[in-house]
């Protein structure tokens, strides 16, 4: 299946390669570089490149190209894309060129465990963590001195049990279970501020540190709200179907319990409005920009971490603006204007105003850039979803329980 993996940095350096079957020459990557040349943005490199003998799959994450090649593909391409995605997200936490370079040994060990002869084997992060212990300063020191490795001696117990996601014999002195309900608003607003499209994507992240084998049941006040859900494998689907409760034996530590989707448009409250006026003059190669942001339906909470990002047209050379609140920054290379507002003060609406200077002689851009908005509302799930209660069965102790709600802007775009 998966023959080899190459990691290529944004600059085009191939800094890691791994072969599961036979060694494939690096020259395969030339096809990729060719395609990379053609595509202006790294995003635009085609995900699948066909070469005479192999198929190259490119995945772009955090400025690294993960790239694999393989001969046969009987299973969907999704499959492979997914393996790589998990690898990034699950294990390293933060995954950048430097972290990989720093932990090159562990990365290799992980890759060796995750795929067996090119077929995915252990991809559950809890099991991987048991097999190969995550690095700590102390351990790496001990390892350097004693020459031992990070590979665990014992086979993880979970792998062969019926609940592979949880290891046996977990013990904590403080038993605690925290749940974060994080909702992201995906929306497209048009020029006049009306909603073209809006939906809510929510996830429930859990951090469960409970001893033994607890059987948890999480119930909602208003489960009917949820439109479409997907669960961690530990959740019993049947219970959800019949009772709308989430019953599960949790994995140990951090994991994503479920994700859901609310697409009914009338339910989606848009927390901000934006008044914008961006115009470019016919003559004089300059333009004007005026953006005001105000609160709309915030349910009495304050908006935090408000950031407005504008992808300017190529011809915009510089921006000379003044903000009543927050700071702005225009990067003339990437042509991105970022206005970091911070906390929104409803009494005094933040405003960004000023002029843009364009490349002289170039025709004025015929369209206005759209604005991307990022925001955060603490202690509010914008959909109104509420966790009712969490029950623990199977264990005697009383755990400490906590639920946190956060609303964020996902792909929130205002067209101009």
């Amino acid at each position: 299946m998966i023959h080899s993996l190459f990691l290529i940095s944004n600059a085009g350096d191939l800094f890691l390669e791994k072969h599961w079957k036979s060694v494939i020459s690096r020259s395969v990557c030339d096809y990729f570089f060719e395609a990379r040349e053609k595509a202006v943005e790294p995003d635009n490199v085609p995900p699948v490149i066909r070469t005479p003998h192999h198929y190259l799959i490119n995945i772009y994450r955090e400025k690294i190209f993960f790239k694999l090649m393989f001969l046969f593909s009987k299973l969907g391409v999704c499959f492979i894309v997914d393996v790589l995605y998990r690898m990034c997200a699950d294990y390293f936490g933060e995954c950048s060129e430097t972290t990989i370079k720093d932990n090159v040994v562990i990365v290799y060990e992980l890759l060796e465990e995750m795929l067996d002869n090119g077929f995915p084997l252990a991809t559950e992060s809890n099991i991987l963590k048991e097999l190969i212990r995550p690095p700590t300063i102390l351990r790496s020191m001990v390892n350097t001195i004693t020459g031992s490795s990070n590979v665990g001696e014992t086979l993880p117990t979970g792998q062969l049990s019926t609940i592979p996601w949880r290891r046996a014999g977990v013990k904590y002195t403080n038993n605690e279970a925290y749940f974060d309900v994080v909702e992201e608003i995906d929306a497209i607003l048009d020029k006049s501020g009306t909603t073209v499209f809006a939906e809510i994507q929510g996830v429930i992240d859990a951090c469960v540190k409970l001893s033994g084998m607890p059987d948890l049941t999480l119930s909602f006040m208003n489960p009917r709200l949820l439109d479409d859900v997907s669960f961690h494998p530990c959740v019993r689907y049947k219970r959800w179907e019949s009772e709308r409760v989430i019953a599960f034996i949790p994995p140990d530590g951090n994991f994503q319990l479920m994700s859901y989707h609310i697409s009914a448009q009338n339910l989606v409250a848009i927390p901000v409005y934006v008044k914008q006026n961006i115009s470019f003059f016919e003559t004089g190669s300059s333009g004007r920009l005026d953006i005001t942001v105000g609160p709309k339906q915030t349910m009495g909470k304050t908006l935090e971490c408000l950031v407005v990002t504008v992808h300017m047209p190529k011809v915009v050379l510089s921006a000379n603006l003044s903000a009543t609140q927050g700071t702005y920054n225009y990067d003339p290379v990437t042509k991105i204007l970022v206005w970091d507002i911070g906390k929104l003060n409803p009494q005094k609406l933040p405003n960004l105003k000023g002029s843009l200077s364009l490349q002289s002689g170039a025709p004025k851009p015929e369209e206005n850039p759209s604005l991307n908005i990022d925001l955060k509302i603490q202690q509010l799930a914008i959909s109104g979803l509420k966790v009712n209660r969490l029950d623990v069965y199977g264990e005697k102790y009383k755990p400490f329980k906590g639920v946190k709600y956060v609303t964020k802007a996902g792909k929130f775009q205002v067209r101009t």
Partner: protein
């Protein structure tokens, strides 16, 4: 995985494992799920009928009015016949349904690959009405990273062509953000275009209008093409689109203009008559537009429809002639073309111009243009030498050209399996396997039954069956022939069996035969409700055989454990006893003529029981051997399979018929408990339902009038409830008497006495009108006869229901020897002993009837007993496992004494009451 790599074409290997795979699917780890789903997709395509066959037929012939074809005599008879044959109502194979039902929860998986696999399975296999459910999941995947998005969108694009309605509610999810990568934008555009129809076109066009302003020029070009496609597909908006596109012509960006010109050209070609003003407008544009493709398109348009713009066309040619030398090649070619066409229609005005253009072309640098000029000159300018062709020149140039059809590039992709790499590339990738077409008629569904008995004849006709099953069928047939004398004569049986035994004694050949016999013997327990009496008997006979063979086999496996001879003899005993049991069963249902024989075998029974116990021991030792991952080796899993299927057979046996059967039942239950350790078998065993035979009492849970057409009956199946041994298995039968389907049948809000527990059955998603379905649920009654109350919910209504068990159903049979029985009885004296005198009813003339009555009242097993005056029964309560011992001592004159020893006095008293009532009737 190994299967996929090694022998993807050996569909026949899946047959036996199909149901197991379906049932286990949800518990398999994620990557395994993907492989299995893909495999099952291909399997299902070869094994089931196309569920959409009727609809596709209707679609095909909708134009021709299929139903009117009866009148049209000239209609092809053959196709009609075929169509009629197909029109008969499609009934989905239950296995097909099983697959769809079991994969559905996997749409909720967090793994995109699994979701994608299920989606493609549904797309390829599900009936049209059900495919819709995958849309939601796929839309969810679109939130994922751009690579996953890319793959999903590719697949969605293909699906939207075939099933547009599916994604229509999610139209807005495909709206494009300016931050999407270009390839995603273009794919989304594709999807939007495919989704466009009369109702949503206005919103889509409004969206497209915003896209046209985008910075991404490739994307703008694609948007314009999309508008063009919408316009061709939906007649109503053609004019609006055209107007919009014409407005774009005044756009400052050349690329946009050029693209719109090309699209307008295509659109105009469809109905040129009404749009001469647009052509005029475009003629004016030629002064400004520099993009060669657009210029060429305009020129072609003017040339083609020069009759509609008779004044402008020559003028355009004049302008072009002036600039001819500076034009690009394709424009030059079109100028020549225009000149030629004008010459033919309006030679008076344009003759000189044409000459001039052709002369210019004659000396062009490009040989193509030189050639073209020479060719056209010969064709249109009449000279003396001009051939016959010039007469047809006008026809050649001004022929009516068919309008181009704007098609989606995804049109032809659906023959690739969705989600595969080949589909993504639209080319066959190495190692790709074609998805097989639906079969014309379904192959025999019985191959998946893990049982051959009923379907022997048909099985042999299948070409692909492995050797062993052929062998089985032959052997079974032979046995069937032999069967007859078994029934006709009670004592005559010893002859043939002896010989069979000597055969199996003699060596390895028969051993392999018996093994093969077994492998074919599996059974799903669902059937036999409607079977004829004789078939029942046959089956039982078979079962006995199987059991015996099984014993033989286990013994053969462990020759060191016990000596072979004694084993064999015990096997014989066992079998003999079994056969007697069969006979008794028969006699119970037919007549009581064979009571002597059942008595006569009592002596032999005692020792045989011991033997069989040792057998179970052996089996216990054996089970760990098979407790290995099922895929490790084919053989191993097959062995396991056999064991399970054997069990099913045993379970199926209607237990409470007569006393000699109960030990058999016990044997099976102990086997079940043996196997309970195997996590694999649990799920298989859990849904064992038995066909309600006359001997099991049916109770009504919900009358069909109070249930508004939903009738619910239950009975105590007396099977061990494998998910929880402390529960009583209650078999519930739902019958839908309405004429609409009932959905989401499930149990809600059980109100139970403290300590009582309920293990609900899985929710029944749909119960079609007139159908009935049987499920098994477990209830732990805590050894009390308190009713279990709960609500029975359908998608519309709730009904209160309660199940109250008769005391006799709260126990399971226990096997005890006579000595054990006496020992236990000794422990339960005094308060725990309840004794009652009674007069036997008129019909209770012999021991056999007594046994029957008692076992019908309570789920007990008979304890072998030396004297024929006493009948002893033993059991234990299901929940707490307290022993229940019953003794019926008959005396002269139809009088009898009933003694019940039980630690739980309440149960004891109630049981005494029940048994007395049963016996004195």
């Amino acid at each position: 995985m190994a299967f996929e790599e090694v022998c993807p074409d050996r569909i026949d290997l899946i047959h036996k494992n199909y149901r197991k795979l379906c049932n286990l699917l949800i518990d398999v780890e994620e990557w395994g799920q993907v492989v299995i789903i893909n495999m099952l997709t291909r399997y299902a395509r070869t094994q089931f009928l196309n569920p959409n066959i009727n609809e596709s037929l209707l679609e095909d012939s909708s134009e021709k009015a299929f139903y009117a074809s009866d009148d049209e005599e000239d209609e092809d008879k053959k196709t009609e016949a075929a169509a009629l044959a197909k029109r008969k109502p499609y009934v989905m194979d239950p296995d097909h349904r099983l697959l769809l039902r079991n994969t559905k929860p996997l749409l909720q998986s967090r793994n995109a690959a699994v979701v994608m696999a299920v989606a493609q399975l549904y797309f390829h296999l599900a009936p049209k009405a059900e495919v819709g459910i995958i849309a939601k999941a796929l839309v969810r995947l679109m939130r994922s990273h751009s690579e996953v998005q890319y793959v999903v969108l590719q697949n969605v694009a293909t699906m939207t062509i075939k099933r547009r309605g599916m994604f229509e509610p999610y139209l807005k999810s495909f709206y494009i953000r300016s931050t999407d990568p270009t390839q995603i934008k273009i794919l989304k555009l594709e999807v939007l275009t495919n989704l466009a129809n009369e109702t949503n076109i206005s919103t889509i066009l409004r969206e497209f209008q915003t896209y046209i302003k985008s910075m991404d020029k490739d994307f703008v070009a694609a948007s314009i093409q999309a508008i063009g496609r919408c316009a061709t597909n939906i007649g109503e908006v053609r004019d609006t689109c055209l107007n919009g596109l014409v407005q774009l012509l005044s756009n400052r960006d050349e690329l946009v203009v050029a693209e719109s010109v090309v699209v307008i050209k295509k659109l105009l070609q469809m109905q040129p008559e009404q749009h001469s003003d647009i052509i005029k407008h475009m003629a004016k544009l030629i002064d400004n537009i520099q993009v060669p493709m657009a210029r060429a398109s305009i020129l072609w348009l003017i040339g083609e429809y020069c009759e509609h713009v008779p004044k402008i066309a020559p003028d355009v040619l004049r302008k072009m002639a002036k600039t001819f030398t500076n034009e690009e090649d394709i424009v030059k070619l079109q100028i020549i073309n225009l000149a030629a066409k004008l010459y033919l229609t309006n030679s008076k005005q344009t003759k000189l111009l044409t000459q001039y253009v052709l002369n210019l072309a004659k000396y062009d640098q490009n040989y193509d243009i030189r050639d073209r000029a020479r060719f056209i000159r010969q064709l249109i300018v009449p000279t003396d030498k001009s051939g016959a062709l010039s007469k047809y020149a006008k026809k050649l140039f001004l022929a009516l050209k068919p309008a181009p059809v704007l098609e989606s590039p995804f049109k032809d992709r659906d023959h690739f399996q969705l989600g595969s790499l080949s589909h993504l590339l639209n080319a066959k990738a190495g190692g790709y396997q074609e998805l097989p077409d639906w079969p014309e008629s379904a192959p025999d569904p019985s191959v998946r039954n893990v049982e051959v008995i009923r379907l022997l004849e048909r099985v042999t006709t299948l070409t692909s069956i492995p050797d062993w099953s052929k062998c089985t069928s032959r052997k079974d047939r032979k046995e069937k022939k032999v069967d007859k004398p078994f029934y006709s004569d009670s004592e005559g049986e010893s002859g043939p069996t002896e010989s069979a035994d000597s055969e199996s004694d003699s060596g390895s050949g028969s051993e392999s035969a018996s093994a093969s016999d077994e492998s074919g013997s599996g059974s799903e327990s669902e059937e036999s409700g409607e079977e004829t009496e004789s078939e029942d008997e046959e089956e039982d006979e078979e079962k006995e055989k199987k059991r015996k063979k099984h014993l033989d086999k286990t013994k053969a496996k462990k020759p060191a454990e016990e000596s072979a001879e004694s084993e064999q003899s015990s096997g014989t005993e066992d079998r003999k006893r079994g056969r007697k049991a069969v006979k008794n069963q028969k006699s119970a249902s037919e007549s009581e003529s064979e009571s002597e024989s059942s008595e006569s075998e009592d002596e032999s029974e005692e020792e045989s029981e011991e033997e069989s116990e040792s057998d179970t021991d052996i089996r216990k030792k054996k089970t760990p051997v098979s407790k290995q991952p099922p895929k490790q080796s084919k053989k191993e899993s097959k062995k396991e399979k056999q064991e399970m299927s054997l069990l099913d057979l045993d379970d199926f046996e209607p237990a409470p018929t007569s006393a000699p059967v109960t030990p058999v039942n016990f044997l099976s239950s102990s086997l079940v408990s043996d196997l309970e350790g195997l996590s694999l078998t649990d799920t298989i065993l859990a849904p064992t339902t038995i066909a309600p035979s006359g001997l099991i009492k049916l109770y009504e849970l919900l009358h069909r009038i109070t249930g508004e057409g939903l009738a619910v009956e239950y009975c105590f199946s007396r099977q061990p409830f494998s998910p929880d041994p402390n529960m009583v298995a209650v078999q519930i039968q739902f019958t839908n008497n309405t004429n609409s389907e009932t959905k989401n049948l499930h149990i809600k809000e059980p109100r139970l006495q403290s300590g009582m527990r309920i293990r609900e059955f899985a929710e029944i998603e749909v119960l079609a009108a007139g159908e009935s379905v049987t499920v098994v649920m477990g209830i732990d009654f805590c050894d009390s006869t308190q009713a279990a109350n709960f609500q029975l919910c359908t998608h519309t209504r709730k009904f209160f229901a309660s199940i109250q068990p008769p005391v006799g159903e709260l126990m399971t049979p226990v096997f005890l020897t006579e000595n054990d029985f006496k020992k236990e009885q000794g422990k339960l004296m005094g308060m725990n002993e309840i004794s009652e005198k009674l007069t036997l009813g008129e019909k209770c003339v012999n021991e056999h009837v007594i046994v029957e009555r008692v076992t019908a009242t309570a789920n007990l097993s008979r304890v072998p007993c030396g004297s024929d005056k006493e009948c002893r029964f033993a059991g234990k309560t299901v929940s707490s496992g307290c022993l229940v011992l019953v003794t019926v001592a008959t005396k002269e004159g139809g009088r009898a004494q009933l003694t019940v020893n039980c630690e739980k006095m309440v149960i004891g008293t109630m049981l005494v009451k029940d048994i007395m009532q049963a016996l004195s009737q």
